[in-house]
């Protein structure tokens, strides 16, 4: 189980066995049932969570409506991060969509790690920088992508989540009406027969072949300075997974980021 975490960290800073063991010693394993909350609105987030297994979401209520700002799966971090970092009450709820297992570290332990290991502190800085830049990318996407582009961008980069996450959650995450999401999804799956007819105008796929900002963003993720330490294919893969969140309209954070 620790391998995934080690791999995640090594994309930022390769840690020695001792350093990693020292870090692993500070982790707590936590299990959550489906729909169980990790943190609620008004509580101060005490943990940073790395997902070992399962699927979780982060959301808040706008009036009575849930607005999802992140959907995260195995190998990603989820947390009410600004609350964790600032020590102020969380405006978000973090909740399990599927039964979940996470490695958690408390702020106190994390500070200890930073004090004792400059390399772990560097990893912390680089991970934070990466998450910060994803927020920036998210804002650029919010400005530049319309509903359909957001949908396509997301589907291309997260085909696994399309199967795994309830549709209404995805619609909320992508800031579109559930009906709109449903219609896009329908078009997507009907594509092959549609091509035989003359439905190419309605096909979602054609614009997907030339998403200008998307390619630029993936470029940026791939060449990411953050992952230069070990620019494995995993690194770029992960960055790609995180991009859609950065690009979609409402989520300040999303799959692949916290």
């Amino acid at each position: 189980m620790l391998d995934a975490l080690r791999q995640y960290l090594s994309r930022y800073v390769p840690l020695s066995n001792e350093e990693f063991a020292f870090l692993a010693d500070k982790l707590v394993i936590r299990n959550f049932d489906k729909k169980q909350q990790l943190v609620n609105v008004g509580e101060v987030e005490t943990s940073l969570n790395f997902i070992v297994k399962g699927l979780l979401r982060k959301f808040f209520y706008r009036d009575k409506t849930e607005v999802i700002t992140q959907i995260a799966r195995e190998g990603e971090i989820i947390s009410s991060s600004a609350s964790f970092l600032s020590g102020t009450p969380s405006p978000y709820i973090v909740e399990a969509i599927e039964p979940a297992t996470v490695f958690s570290i408390s702020k106190k332990h994390l500070e200890k790690l930073y004090d004792s290991s400059p390399r772990i502190e560097r990893a912390g800085r680089l991970i934070l920088t990466h998450l910060f830049l994803q927020k920036e990318e998210w804002e650029q996407g919010r400005i530049r992508m319309d509903t359909r582009e957001r949908f396509l961008h997301f589907v291309q980069n997260n085909p696994d989540l399309l199967q795994r996450v309830p549709q209404k959650y995805l619609a909320s995450y992508l800031n579109m009406k559930p009906e709109t999401f449903s219609r896009f999804k329908h078009l997507l799956y009907r594509r092959p027969p549609a091509e035989q007819h003359k439905a190419s105008q309605t096909s979602l796929a054609s614009p997907a072949s030339q998403p200008p900002k998307a390619s630029q963003a993936s470029q940026s993720s791939k060449a990411s300075h953050v992952s230069q330490a070990s620019r494995s294919s995993k690194a770029s893969q992960e960055s790609q997974l995180s991009r859609p969140s950065a690009k979609s309209v409402n989520p300040p954070s999303g799959p692949g980021k916290k």
Partner: protein
């Protein structure tokens, strides 16, 4: 030294205060940082970074006013208005050293304290406290950005407007209205209307 400080000295003093807010820093440690910092001056309405250029600097505004915006469909969408003490640059371009999608441009004549990408990397290697400083500053920026985005998602146009003019009263004097409207993602007409409403009260 002359009793009246030069603007640069003031800017450096401010920088010292800013950094000391994150990590205890002696004056002598601070002076070790200075060789890495450049002072750059710009007239108003000058593009500091054009679209497609790679961002070479991280800048702190010592004096003046800078905007960062995204060109989109013949429009400019403002994503940051930076005044004294704020960090402004094309972050994605800087950290990944890739062509910038956003443009950084002065609104007023501006003095920047800038550190280049290479200098920053050198600092991280040579200056033991840099790692912590960097981490805490990025944490701070992260928190602020998260709150800003959260507000954009949760608050109504009217709330965003009222909150902004309450917390940034001086900006209405300094910045063209259309820029603030763009930054707040409010139509210029709506912005005008809201402003009138507030005046009448």
């Amino acid at each position: 030294m002359n009793k009246k400080k030069s603007p640069y000295q003031t800017a450096l003093d401010d920088l010292y205060q800013y950094l000391s807010g994150f990590v205890p820093l002696t004056r002598s440690e601070f002076s070790q940082l200075l060789p890495y910092i450049e002072i750059r001056e710009f007239e108003k309405k000058v593009k500091i970074l054009r679209e497609g250029e790679v961002e070479a600097y991280l800048n702190i505004v010592a004096r003046g006013l800078v905007r960062k915006y995204l060109p989109f469909k013949n429009q400019e969408v403002i994503i940051q208005l930076a005044t004294e003490g704020h960090i402004v640059h094309s972050e994605i371009s800087f950290h990944y050293q890739l062509p910038s999608e956003s443009i950084v441009e002065t609104i007023e004549p501006t003095v920047l304290l800038s550190i280049s990408y290479d200098s920053l990397e050198q600092l991280y290697e040579r200056f033991p406290k840099a790692e912590r400083l960097g981490r805490l500053i990025i944490s701070d920026l992260f928190i602020k950005k998260d709150f800003r985005y959260f507000d954009q998602l949760r608050k109504s146009t009217r709330e965003r407007f009222l909150e902004y003019i309450r917390t940034h009263p001086h900006m209405l004097q300094r910045v063209p209205q259309k820029y603030i409207a763009s930054y707040l993602n409010i139509k210029p007409e709506t912005f005008s209307r809201l402003k009138h409403l507030v005046k009448q009260q």
